[in-house]
Amino acid sequence: NAGVTQTPKFRILKIGQSMTLQCTQDMNHNYMYWYRQDPGMGLKLIYYSVGAGITDKGEVPNGYNVSRSTTEDFPLRLELAAPSQTSVYFCASSYGDSGGEQYFGPGTRLTVT
C-alpha cells in the first residue's frame, strides 16, 4: 500500500492564482481530512469528508474548496491565492471506527508571493 499520497510536494503561487492540491489514499478509508500546519500553531482542520459526495467545513475553511467524487481522492482547491495561505498542507485519512487514528500524507509546502 502506498498509503496517503499528495502532489505536488512544493509549489510557489503568485497572489490571485488558483491551484488544486491532490490527495489519494489506497486504504479504502471512508474519512478524509485536509489540514494546514503553520509554525507554533499546530494542525488546523480545513475540510473533511465522511464519504464520497459528503464534505464539511473544519476550523479554517475560508479561501478553500473541496470535493469528494470517489473514496480514494480528496482534492483541495485554492481560489485566488493569498499570502496568508502560505503553509504546509497535509491530507489524512482514517477508517470509520479506528478511534481517531489518522494516516497522514507527506505534505505539500505552498508559498504564495
Binding site: L45, V50, D56, G99, G100
Partner: protein, 113 residues
C-alpha cells in the same frame, strides 16, 4: 479557542534522560487521546494513544499518563535517544465526531548526545 493546550513548545533533553510533554483539554466529551510524532519533512504519524478508562499506557519507551479528573495527560519518553528528536503533538477526539481530531500546538524535542 484552544481546546487542547500543550507545553512546552520546545524541549532539549540529554541522551538517556526522560522527556516529558504535558497537555490539558477542556471538552469532557473527548474520549480518545492520541500522540503523533512528526519528523522534519514528513507527515505526522500515530505514536501511542489512550482512552480515559485507563490511567496509563506504555509502549516500549513511550508512556502516556492520563488524569481524567484534572483533564490532563502527558507523554513520557524514557531513555531518550537522538532518534527521538522530532515534533510531538498531543490530540483529542470524540466518538461520533467524525474522527475529527483537535491537535495541540506541538513540542519540538531535541535529544542531544
Amino acid at each position: 479557542q484552544q481546546q487542547v493546550k500543550q507545553s512546552p513548545q520546545s524541549l532539549i533533553v540529554q541522551k538517556g534522560g526522560i522527556s516529558i510533554i504535558n497537555c490539558a483539554y477542556e471538552n469532557t466529551a473527548f474520549d480518545y487521546f492520541p500522540w503523533y510524532q512528526q519528523f522534519p519533512g514528513k507527515g505526522p504519524a500515530l505514536l501511542i494513544a489512550i482512552r480515559p478508562d485507563v490511567s496509563e499506557k506504555k509502549e516500549g519507551r513511550f508512556t502516556i499518563s492520563f488524569n481524567k479528573s484534572a483533564k490532563q495527560f502527558s507523554l513520557h519518553i524514557m531513555d531518550s535517544q537522538p532518534g527521538d528528536s522530532a515534533t510531538y503533538f498531543c490530540a483529542a477526539s470524540m466518538t461520533g465526531g467524525y474522527q475529527k481530531v483537535t491537535f495541540g500546538i506541538g513540542t519540538k524535542l531535541q535529544v542531544i548526545p
